[in-house]
């Protein structure tokens, strides 16, 4: 490895990156100053503004073909902190901003605050935490050194935990505590890893690290600890103990954020770690091990989802399974005969799966929330007739399901196509079997839910509450997005490769 250190400089428009992180923080501070009644309005302005900023950054990176960089305070790394927006970051930023905005629209019904009403706790917490999640996610996508990423990850966890127990029921409090404690265990492991890496290389900057990294036990130990810590936070099977109760117990809007957005943050860090900070260091055996964990997540998650009696739990277990798909990209990217082509394909497939799962799953949780609101329960066996009462909601659920199954033209299909292509190109057919089995199991539980909801009601259907139209539209909008995601193959899919080295640095092996 040449030990040359290229000093990065702040690029033009680099300040936009700061804006993307600062906007939500401003919103949080303002909400505390002005009080809970204004929190929704502040979020209503700042979240779309964040989306616009993300879009501008996306366009700049896509058209410029190179990353945007901002060096905070002009201090160069290793001492200073860089913000760096490459193709992966901008794609994720835009996708998550859309999802968060639509969740905001949906949440108006449950956490909307009217000017005349008394200030209540839940809306304030929800909107503040939503903005915090948006800021933390942007920080995860843009952070250029591993310690900044640690801080962002902790911010994300601290913003997510209160969302689990918004309604203060005992079960949700327990779920939140479980989540918090297990996440803390994960973050400590990550922190140990950063300490070891800093001790070895004297820097935590991702670009510098990728130039200096050597194959030595301390590095591998650090990487192992960080990866496992992130597994715990991503709820990769069998470390998913906190996910089902937390995601199923939270209010619908919060479940959507947790399942669609929050788990993607720690997953993104794993990608950053192995693809950017420590390129070429993941051994074939280790990548196969990660693949096995992903595969068992797909099979077990789907089977357990099939056996669930409550809709929200079913969707939560489906998240466990879908997280497994994300990890199949590691054995495919780091195969025995590395080639830059498959490496890029696997990475694209993984990112596409991340984004399409985010849109589809958010839509499904919203649909489940609307059903819960209308019926007062979400027992699958008693959902008969609801499809007639809430057709648009069930349509959104079905479309989201299609995306999870991976039928064309959804984003899930494109991701599956790329994954299968990579399995064949790298001659690892066993992952193809897992992908097929996972798709069939997914279609089974989607079919069961749809058939129950379309069937006749057990008793005359009584709707407890009318469901506002815009909530259904928000769910349907997200579902349609997940379907149309397959069309990105026509356009900006190349953006994912911006700012990436052409090939993995296989010279290390």
């Amino acid at each position: 490895m040449p030990a040359t250190t290229v000093l990065d400089a702040t690029t033009a428009d680099g300040a936009l990156l700061v804006l993307a992180i600062v906007l939500p923080v401003v919103g949080i501070l303002l909400s505390f100053v002005l009080g809970g009644r204004y929190a929704e309005r502040i979020a209503g302005v700042l979240l779309p503004a964040g989306f616009i900023v993300a879009c501008i950054i996306f366009l700049k990176v896509w058209q410029g073909g190179e990353p945007l960089i901002y060096i905070v305070g002009g201090w160069q790394p290793p001492l200073g902190i860089t913000l760096r927006a490459d193709g992966l970051s901008v794609a994720m930023m835009v996708a998550m901003a859309i999802v968060i905005c639509l969740i905001g629209v949906f949440a108006h019904a449950n956490f909307g605050s009217r000017a005349a009403s008394v200030e209540t706790r839940a809306p304030l917490v929800f909107w503040v935490m939503l903005m915090a999640i948006s800021g933390a996610m942007n920080m995860i996508f843009l952070g250029g050194d591993l310690f900044t990423l640690y801080v962002a990850l902790e911010l994300l966890t601290f913003a997510a935990v209160p969302l689990v127990c918004l309604d203060g029921r005992v079960e949700t409090l327990q779920a939140a505590l479980r989540y918090l404690l297990f996440a803390l265990l994960g973050s400590i492991l990550y922190l140990v890893g950063t300490a070891l890496l800093y001790g070895s290389y004297g820097t935590l900057d991702i670009v510098l690290m990728s130039q200096r990294v050597r194959l030595e036990p301390a590095t591998l130990a650090a990487a192992t600890l960080m990866t496992l810590g992130l597994f715990a936070k991503t709820a990769l099977f069998p470390l998913h103990l906190w996910l089902p109760p937390a995601h199923a117990g939270a209010p619908a809007a919060a479940s959507a954020v947790l399942s669609a957005v929050v788990v993607k943050g720690s997953f993104f860090l794993i990608v950053r770690l192995w693809f950017d900070a420590l390129p070429g260091l993941l051994s074939v055996a280790a990548s196969q091990l990660i693949g096995v964990l992903g595969a068992s997540a797909i099979i077990c998650g789907n089977i357990v989802a099939l056996r669930q009696k409550r809709l929200k739990l079913l969707i939560a277990y489906s998240t466990v399974a879908q997280i497994g798909y994300l990890f199949l990209m590691f054995p495919l990217a780091f195969s025995a005969d590395p080639s830059p082509h498959h490496y890029g394909d696997a990475l694209t497939a993984g990112m596409l799966q991340t984004i399409s799962h985010a849109t589809a799953k958010a839509a499904m949780f919203m649909a489940a929330g609307l059903i819960y609101a209308a019926l007062g329960h979400d027992r699958i066996s008693e959902l008969g007739g609801i499809a007639r009462a809430l057709p648009m909601t069930m349509f959104a659920f079905g479309l989201g399901g299609l995306c999870l199954i991976g039928l064309p033209p959804t984003g899930g299909f494109l991701a599956k196509w790329l994954l299968l292509e990579a399995t064949i190109a790298t001659a690892q057919w066993w992952w193809a079997i897992v992908i097929i089995a996972g798709g069939l199991l997914t279609s089974a539980y989607i079919y069961i839910v749809l058939s129950r909801t379309m069937g006749p009601p057990n008793a005359p259907l009584t709707l407890y509450a009318a469901v506002p139209k815009y909530q259904e539209v928000a769910a349907l909008g997200l579902a349609c997005l997940s379907v149309l995601l397959g069309l990105v193959a026509l356009g900006p899919i190349d953006v994912l490769q911006v700012g990436r080295p052409e090939a993995p640095m296989a010279g290390l092996r």
Binding site: L189, P238, K416
Partner: protein, 543 residues
């Protein structure tokens, strides 16, 4: 001649536009009355498009290509006819029934998928429209929402998705073999014989399309699905939709290259299905189920023709198979529609109605002067003179027997009201389908240049066609006279095995659920975290 592009685009966009119009509640309400109009542009395209210049949609990086080649045009033409008449039949059928809107949506989705598959020239488009067809068809099957319908729908969609995943893998493999970035089916088929994964791809294609075509043992969905579906839906599914698999085989398999081993296997599987369908079908009582088993048999026969073509590397077998399929589209469609017509007819008017049914039914067995006889003449060449031809004759005997059984079963479903007659809006679509099934094969047959095929009116050919029919009729008489009780075999025969598998599945699921519950305990998760840390560390160090 008209310009190609607008016609091709119209054929697809018109039903697609109607489908999208269903998003508007007002349009959805009226849509069931207009189903017959949706396939008209497709039919017009078949009549007026003269060349095979492709229609390319989308940016150059990833575009969809559509073209109307000869096999596609033949199938699309007859399929569009059936969709038109069945659509006209569906409008009165739906009057006053629940879920009319959903029926219209699923109908239009299946129709768009069907037209798209027949027109698609690239793999992405083919796959996309095939998936659309499967989803739409599943929606049609579950229309009545009975427990049987849901089970049939589950079986159909499960096997359909499995088939599509196998096809997807085959397509991905094929895409790797195509030089350049294109995804055209023609290029893929051309590159297939020299592909390093040739045998794997061909097995995947045959398994995938075989499931869709109801090849034994993947036929289990057919009897259940057609029995559960509403009559017009069963007509288009068994007539038109299932032919997508035949077209897929013809488009993707390298029929110009002699592949004796694969061809023999395919032909054997097809011929076995041709006889199996007849034998099991004989034990069935419900007319719809009898027709479904006849479909199993006929589809098997078509697959056998393709297989024989593969043995010889004779590309003409493809066209023969298409001709046979085209005949089957209209005949099977008309027979399914007749179920509804006869059920609405009283005993007094039964015989005038039953006569055309009997003619086209026995025509499927090869009654001289019908389309069935012409189809048998066309496939005679590819089948050769060996064992395959003998089995084909046997299957013709069996088909006649089965069809007579169907007509006999049909008589028992006649309306209890002596004076009842079928409504004209049911009667005319049925009669025009029946008429088309007699006329269209002749028109197609006469379009073949003279000298390529023998004269169908030659006495020895007439006798050759008539003798299996006579034999079948005698057998039928024997069976009805002397065989007291036929064994009772459940609809979908070997699906019973699958059912029992489904019964033991919950036990396995429970075990996995319990294991998963164990893993979710705090200390177990903590220990697995540590164990995984050690494992991953070891795996990283072992390099």
């Amino acid at each position: 001649m008209m310009e190609t592009y607008p016609l091709l685009a119209g054929a697809l966009l018109f039903p697609l536009g109607m489908l999208l119009a269903c998003l508007w509640p007002g349009a959805l309400l009226r849509m069931p009355s207009y189903l017959a109009f949706a396939p008209i542009p497709a039919f017009a395209a078949v009549l007026f498009v003269a060349d095979v210049s492709p229609l390319v949609v989308g940016p150059p990086r990833l575009h969809l290509t559509f073209t109307l080649d000869l096999p596609g045009a033949l199938l699309l033409g007859v399929a569009a006819l059936l969709w038109i008449t069945a659509g006209a039949y569906a409008s009165p059928y739906l009057q006053g029934r629940p879920n009319r809107g959903r029926f219209a949506v699923c109908w239009l989705a299946a129709l768009t998928g069907c037209i798209g598959v027949f027109l698609a020239a690239d793999m992405v488009g083919f796959y996309l429209f095939l998936a659309m067809l499967t989803l739409g068809a599943c929606g049609l099957i579950i229309q009545h929402e009975t427990a049987d319908a849901w089970r049939a729908g589950a079986l159909y969609i499960g096997l359909g998705l499995l088939a599509e995943t196998l096809l997807l893998i085959a397509f991905v493999l094929l895409a790797a073999d195509i030089p350049g970035n294109g995804l055209l089916i023609a290029d893929a088929a051309a590159a297939l014989p020299t592909s390093p994964h040739r045998d794997l791809i061909i097995s995947l294609l045959i398994a995938g399309f075989g499931m869709k075509a109801g090849l034994v043992p993947f036929h289990v969905w057919m009897p259940r699905a057609y029995a559960a579906a509403p009559t017009p839906a069963a007509a288009v599914l068994s007539g038109a939709a299932v032919k997508a698999s035949i077209l897929g085989m013809i488009r993707f398999l390298p029929l110009d290259t002699a592949l004796p081993h694969t061809g023999t296997l395919l032909a054997a599987a097809g011929l076995f299905a041709a006889l199996y369908g007849v034998v099991i079908g004989m034990t069935q009582r419900r007319p719809k189920v009898v027709l479904a088993y006849s479909s199993v048999s006929q589809m098997g026969f078509i697959v056998a023709v393709i297989g024989m073509g593969m043995i010889a590397g004779d590309g003409r077998a493809a066209l023969a198979a298409i001709f046979y399929s085209a005949n089957h589209v209209l005949v099977k469609g008309a027979l399914f529609l007749s179920i509804g017509v006869i059920a609405a007819t009283g005993r007094r008017y039964l015989w005038p109605m039953l006569l055309p049914v009997a003619i086209i039914a026995v025509g499927l067995g090869g009654l001289p002067l019908t389309g069935g006889a012409l189809a048998k003449i066309v496939v005679d060449g590819p089948l050769g003179d060996g064992a395959a031809n003998t089995v084909a004759t046997l299957s013709a005997v069996g088909t006649t027997l089965l069809m007579l059984q169907f007509v006999r079963g049909l008589i028992t479903t006649v309306s209890t009201d002596q004076e009842a007659t079928a409504a004209p809006s049911l009667f005319w679509p049925w009669l025009s389908t029946a008429a088309a099934s007699l006329v269209v094969p002749w028109a197609l047959f006469l379009a073949v240049p003279e000298g390529m095929l023998p004269n169908p009116l030659a006495p020895e050919l007439l006798w050759k066609a008539l003798f299996p029919v006579l034999l079948g009729a005698i057998l039928a008489a024997v069976v009805w006279r002397w065989v007291r009780r036929l064994p009772h075999i459940p609809e979908g025969d070997i699906v019973v095995v699958l059912d029992s598998c489904v019964k033991i599945a919950p036990a396995w699921g429970k075990t996995i659920e319990q294991a998963e519950g164990m893993l979710r305990r705090w200390h177990v998760a903590g220990i697995s975290l540590l164990a995984l840390t050690l494992a991953l560390g070891a795996a990283l160090l072992a390099q």
